[in-house]
């Protein structure tokens, strides 16, 4: 049935995003880059507007602009700018420029709400291929570079002394982040991508004693939040992307309470 198939596609899309975003989100949390995720995601709306203006695939435009933003932030942070302020400026101005750029396009061509909050029920087979392609790429990248990424996250100089170039690992994370942002737009929208990165990772923290366990638990919580959010939104007729984030936030509240009591 058609109903079944769009729900199944939505479920698969949500699980794909949850699985890829949450382990990457662990690094975002460990490295205190939550705003970095926001800035990258918000930049994507500019990419969407540009790609529609130039009739390019939305995914491609979002990926390129998100990547440009992520690389810009990485380079500026190396120069010793005050990160907190810098990211606050970049995250919000990227969103503002994106919205202004979108306003130049005719309303028929751009459904802004779908890009801001996601439109998971409209996921096509092609979208699904892009989402899972991106998810596999990100998970593969994280698995391949795991030890080096972890070392660079613990301490840049210590990593250097062990023969690891921390700038290279930063670049790997930057690439992975841009990729997750680009594939997540359809599912949760640019405003809530950072939540799918950070919330499952934060929810996993009290349950984990090793970094690997935290990444795995975060992936499970991310995927479960996506599925739970989809079911809840279907049942209560609520917007799907935000409902997924609500479920993840409830998981966080539960594990935080359990962890605090232990």
């Amino acid at each position: 049935m058609i109903l079944d198939s769009f729900l199944v596609r939505a479920a698969l899309a949500g699980v794909g995003v949850g699985l890829a975003a949450a382990p990457l989100g662990c690094f975002v949390v460990w490295r205190r880059m939550a705003y970095f995720g926001d800035a990258t995601a918000h930049a994507a709306i500019l990419g969407i507007a540009l790609s529609i203006a130039f009739s390019l695939p939305v995914f491609l435009g979002a990926l390129i602009v998100a990547l440009a933003m992520a690389v810009t932030v990485s380079l500026l942070s190396d120069r010793g700018f005050a990160m907190d302020t810098l990211l606050g400026v970049l995250a919000h101005s990227a969103l503002a420029f994106g919205l202004v750029a979108a306003s130049f396009l005719s309303g028929v061509r751009l459904d802004l709400m779908a890009y801001l909050f996601g439109d998971i029920l409209a996921v096509s087979r092609g979208d699904l291929a892009v989402i899972w392609g991106g998810a596999v790429l990100v998970l593969g990248l994280l698995t391949w570079r795991w030890s080096a990424l972890l070392m660079a996250t613990l301490n840049a100089d210590l990593a250097q002394a062990s023969g690891i170039d921390p700038r290279r690992e930063q670049l790997v994370l930057t690439l992975a982040l841009a990729c997750v942002v680009a594939v997540s737009i359809k599912v949760v929208g640019v405003l809530l991508i950072a939540a799918m990165l950070v919330v499952p990772a934060a929810a996993a923290r009290p349950l984990a004693r090793t970094p690997e366990a935290m990444a795995l638990i975060a992936a499970v919580i991310g995927a479960a939040s996506a599925l739970g959010g989809l079911l809840a939104s279907y049942r209560f007729d609520t917007p799907t992307g935000p409902t997924m984030v609500c479920v993840a936030a409830l998981c966080f509240a539960l594990t935080a309470l359990a962890g605090g009591r232990r």
């Binding site: 996250t153 613990l154 301490n155 100089d157 990593a159 002394a161 062990s162 690891i164 970094p211 366990a213």
Partner: protein, 269 residues
């Protein structure tokens, strides 16, 4: 004469190294030579480039000019100034030691034992005290049996008995492993006695020599003060006369001293 020959082997040499960071000149014309088995202490005021010097040695900072020559296959153990592990990152001491390359349980235990913390393997890094944390960092640096151990103010934040015990541990490690040690420290009175050579840095190398030579010289008092036993020695000395300096240093001691305090063994060759 293998002993002598061994003593002459240079592990790492800096040749006229200049470093600029963010447009600011941090090190100017620094040349030094670390020989096998010696303990060298680097002293100097805040912002004198001590940490940068160590970061040049590990390769984290590239010299703007000049060059760094390392002995072939040189293994460096590095204990950083401070390491903040975010409490959101769960990691046990043993797992921390196995990064980035896995080490066997026996080697991890041995390194922890050498660092004086044999029982901490299963603890979470974020729950360690300051002293325990520094010893775990030391254990990590010792894992690969380094030829050269670099310590960047490794006892910052430890109380006096704690840092004295830490430096005794370093001496034991040097005796057992025969590695060279280069350490940066503010605690001059503690590290002076343990050092074979002291290098005074302030952007450039102001002076260097055996601690006994330095200590018996009147210049030493100008350098570190006299009545400061047990307290942090003040860094006050005149060293503008040989160099083109514009910075303003304290001159209260009034003692002018010659640079490059003579070192009978020809240190710094």
């Amino acid at each position: 004469m293998p002993q002598l020959r061994r003593g002459c082997v240079s592990l790492i040499a800096l040749e006229s190294v200049d470093v600029q960071l963010g447009g600011v000149s941090v090190l100017q014309g620094v040349s030094l030579n670390i020989r096998r088995g010696e303990i060298v202490t680097v002293v100097g005021p805040n912002g004198s480039g001590k940490s940068t010097l160590l970061r040049v040695m590990i390769g984290a900072v590239k010299p703007t000019s000049g060059r760094v020559v390392r002995a072939e296959g040189l293994r460096i153990g590095y204990v950083p100034q401070k390491l903040h592990i975010d409490p959101t990152l769960p990691i046990t001491v043993t797992r921390f030691l196995s990064l980035p390359r896995p080490v066997s349980a026996v080697r991890a235990r041995d390194a922890l034992h050498r660092a004086g913390v044999p029982d901490l393997g299963g603890r979470q890094m974020a729950q360690l005290s300051g002293g325990q944390f520094q010893r775990v960092l030391l254990a990590r640096a010792l894992l690969d049996a380094p030829d050269l151990l670099l310590l960047d103010e490794a006892t910052q934040g430890l109380d006096q008995p704690g840092s004295a015990a830490f430096y005794r541990q370093i001496e034991d490690v040097r005796r057992d492993l025969g590695c060279s040690v280069v350490m940066v420290s503010h605690e001059l009175h503690v590290v002076m006695s343990a050092s074979d050579r002291v290098i005074c840095l302030n952007g450039h190398i102001c002076c260097e020599g055996h601690p006994e030579v330095v200590a018996s010289a009147p210049e030493y008092r100008a350098l570190f003060g006299t009545g400061t036993k047990g307290a942090l020695a003040l860094y006050r000395h005149e060293h503008g006369h040989l160099h083109d300096h514009t910075h303003d240093h304290g001159h209260e001691s009034g003692a002018e001293h010659s640079h490059h305090i003579s070192d009978d063994d020809g240190a710094g060759q």
